[in-house]
């Protein structure tokens, strides 16, 4: 395997692994805090049990996220030393803040997990909220750094050297807001649906289980609100990408030729050699509107860029389609949930609805991974858009593929153990709640 490919794959594996835990670390503390709030307000044991069960989930996922995040802070240098040598002083600022946020998160989580009997209940609860707030802040900082790679700012690039560095301008680059917003909401969608799906699965086995009913309702509410907001943030992102990175947008939409007006392509398989999209549905004028807010606007196609500056079309387009499809599906399920919860509560416990929620469990994370693929692959061949090529940034140490295999093996093993561990957690929960036959309406 070529070293550049190995390094890119390792980065993809590491980020793809870490992003799952980062998302859970951003959103799950809030689920835990909602349940904790309800416990403090109502005094019902089920909320306390739920808060504790979810906090163990947060603890396990946070620990894995912490170590995989540590790994990433080293991997940036191990794989891309040239990139870090130039980029470090420019885009390092959000990382220096992320360190603080993450520190606070670790401290607050320690207090929340082990402080049940040592802290005043509301102080304890506040620690849980701080975990969530600092988790979201960490996420926003890291995304701001990534946004800088898409929208480099805060320096002058002369003869391969950066001058007039302004870290503040680099952090608040043009892409940071749209990317941070999209990622944060995505974390809530993905975590909300994954948690709801898990509890729906367990409800299928035991429909009267109050614990899982409560859990599914909280998680699905959070996931639904986020899933309905996400298209709005997606629109902001699309318009931003259209303006800043037209090549990425063209690859997302497999728009090989500049068009006026441009059609929105749904599905289809781009043929990069023939420069056309097969089996796709075209909706006339829609892309012009989505990209520029005008049904007749011109949208830049890939033909506007030299061949060696075009991102891979097939992967970017498919990943984009998958992301949008999963997002739409979850928004629909969310609407259904709102409708049932409003008028027909009994339908929430129907097997087909529980199955729908169960099957939606991975959708949010598939969307997150796909979206991340769009933003990373869609930026290629650049590591810093328009400034530095990925191939020029890679480590000169030969044999990077060995590193890649080791890391991939390690992460696969960790995922395997985590799934196994979660099953064991759930099994003990089942045992505890099986005997409790409480018939209470879902309200």
């Amino acid at each position: 395997m070529e070293d550049l490919l190995a390094a890119r794959l390792q980065m993809a594996v590491s980020l793809g692994f870490h992003i799952i835990f980062a998302c859970i670390g951003m959103a799950m503390p809030f689920l835990m805090a909602i349940s904790g709030y309800k416990y403090l307000r109502s005094g019902k044991e089920v909320y306390k049990d739920l808060t504790k069960a979810w906090s163990i989930g947060v603890a396990i996922f946070f620990a894995v996220g912490a170590v995989s995040g540590t790994a990433l802070s080293f991997e940036l240098g191990l794989l891309w030393p040239t990139f870090m040598e130039h980029a470090g002083p420019i885009f390092g600022m959000p990382f220096s803040w992320e360190g603080t946020a993450f520190f606070i998160e670790a401290i607050a989580l320690g207090l929340f997990l082990y402080g049940w009997d040592r802290l005043h209940p509301w102080v304890h609860w506040s620690c849980g909220v701080v975990v969530g707030i600092s988790g979201v802040a960490s996420g926003i900082f890291v995304v701001a750094a990534n946004a800088w790679m898409n929208a480099p700012a805060g320096f002058d690039w002369v003869d391969g050297q950066a001058y007039n560095i302004d870290p503040v301008a680099a952090m608040f680059n043009e892409a940071w807001f749209s990317q941070a917003l999209h990622m944060t909401i995505a974390a809530f969608v993905a975590t909300g649906f994954a948690v709801a799906g898990l509890h729906a699965l367990l409800l299928l086995k035991d429909k009267q289980n109050l614990f899982h009913k409560t859990a599914m309702r909280i998680a699905l509410s959070v996931g639904t609100v986020a899933a309905l907001l996400q298209p709005l943030s997606g629109d902001i992102s699309a318009k931003d990408v259209a303006k800043r990175q037209p090549a990425k947008l063209a690859a997302m939409e497999a728009l090989f030729e500049t068009s006026k007006p441009a059609a929105f392509v749904i599905g289809g398989i781009p043929d990069e050699a023939a420069r056309e999209v097969n089996y796709a549905i075209h909706i006339p004028n829609l892309l012009s509107y989505l990209a520029h807010g005008d049904f007749n606007a011109e949208v830049t196609g890939l033909d506007a860029f030299p061949a060696d500056e075009q991102p891979p079309v097939l992967i970017t387009h498919l990943a984009f389609q998958i992301m949008v499809f999963c997002g739409m599906l979850m928004a629909l399920i969310g609407l259904l949930f709102l409708l049932f919860n409003w008028r027909w509560k009994h339908l929430l416990m129907r097997r087909w609805f529980l199955w729908t929620v169960t099957l939606s469990m991975p959708l949010g994370f598939i969307a997150v991974e796909a979206g991340w693929t769009v933003t990373e692959v869609g930026r290629q061949p650049w590591i810093i858009y328009g400034i530095m090529r990925t191939e020029d940034a890679v480590s000169s140490m030969p044999g990077l593929e060995v590193t890649f295999y080791i890391f991939t093996g390690l992460y696969l093993l960790l995922i395997f153990i985590l799934v196994w561990l979660m099953r064991r957690q759930i099994k003990t929960l089942q045992d505890k709640y099986q005997s409790a036959k409480i018939h209470e309406p879902i309200n």
Partner: protein, 332 residues
């Protein structure tokens, strides 16, 4: 601003050596004492271990933002030991968490414990090896072979011995700390016993570091003798040893901890004083240091601000965390 950043780098290193070090050391102690001490160790480090390891991330961020060339060159030439360190850190954190939170206690605990213990020794060993490789001066910026470029700088007696010394020091710190955390007199006795042995091992391996340095062509002893500050620090650390032994005999809890911390500070201080401002030595006589690789002033200013402001947030929270869970120590 540069000096604020350098001070923070030094403080993070010290904090990581003390807190992260005691954390690693607890795993090393478990290798020797097994299940007897597992409960105490888990109890003592579970609420704080993630915060302890944040200091490492802080150092990495300070390096890549403030001293980018050091970070990138080190990542390039010490790729392999850094990779092993990372694998150690990943395995250790996850094994500890899995062991702690696994809902069912069965044979899987044995596997978690094995990985936890193994990685508790690999990580500090390679921390020491990396530190040694930075100063030994075998990093060749124009390597002619893979071995010369990516293996020879760190695979040698001096680096290995420094790794062993790091393990001994961390185990020593952990034992001294855990004495006060023990739940029963018999476990307390075990930690006391271990603290004595680890102390001897630290002193012996520390001496061997100098011997191995000479063997690998690094005049470490002379470098320390020539530097008055470093010499003074080593003398102070040695002089505090009898006091330390006395305080252990008197069954004190706080004083040995303070002295162990003082000795670590002196060792790191001597190192820093002796080497400053050099961080990475090349085989051709050139070096990368804190003064000749620093990022532009605008970057350092933002970094220093983030560090200062971050400390205002972190230190009180950290104190609150320690106070909440280490109240036992504070009341003694």
């Amino acid at each position: 601003m540069l000096y604020i950043v350098i001070i923070f780098l030094g403080l993070s290193l010290l904090a990581y050596a003390l807190l992260g070090g005691a954390d690693f050391g607890a795993g090393i102690i478990e290798i020797f004492s097994g299940n007897v001490t597992k409960r105490t160790i888990t109890h003592a480090i579970a609420p704080v271990w993630e915060a302890n390891h944040m200091w490492l991330i802080l150092m990495v961020v300070i390096l890549f933002m403030g001293f980018p060339l050091i970070y990138s060159q080190m990542s390039l030439y010490l790729h392999i030991p850094l990779l092993i360190l990372l694998i150690g850190i990943i395995l250790r954190g996850t094994a500890f968490t899995f062991r702690h939170y696994d809902a069912i206690e069965d044979r899987s605990q044995i596997h978690y414990s094995f990985i936890f213990k193994l990685s508790s020794i690999i990580s500090p060993l390679f921390l020491g090896i990396i530190t040694g490789a930075l100063i030994l001066g075998r990093i060749n910026p124009e390597p002619t072979s893979f071995y010369e470029g990516f293996i020879a700088p760190w695979l040698n007696g001096f680096c290995f011995m420094l790794g062993v010394f790091t393990c001994c020091l961390f185990a020593f710190l952990a034992a001294v700390y855990l004495i006060g955390e023990a739940e029963s007199p018999s476990i307390r006795g075990r930690f006391l016993h271990f603290a004595r042995n680890a102390n001897v091992a630290t002193v012996v391996s520390g001496g061997l570091v100098f011997v191995f340095a000479e063997w690998n062509g690094l005049p470490l002893a002379r470098m320390f003798l020539d530097s008055q500050g470093a010499l003074l620090a080593i003398i102070l650390a040695t002089l505090s040893l009898p006091l330390f032994w006395w305080s252990l005999l008197k069954r004190q809890v706080i004083l040995p901890r303070l002295l162990a911390g003082f000795q670590t500070l002196m060792i790191l201080g001597a190192w820093f004083w002796d080497q400053y401002p050099v961080i990475l030595r090349y085989s051709n006589g050139h070096y990368l240091g804190l003064l000749n690789t620093a990022a532009p002033e605008a970057t350092l200013r933002q970094l220093a601000l983030a560090l200062l402001f971050g400390s205002l947030l972190i230190l009180p929270s950290l104190f609150f965390l320690m106070k909440t869970f280490k109240a036992k120590t504070f009341s003694e």
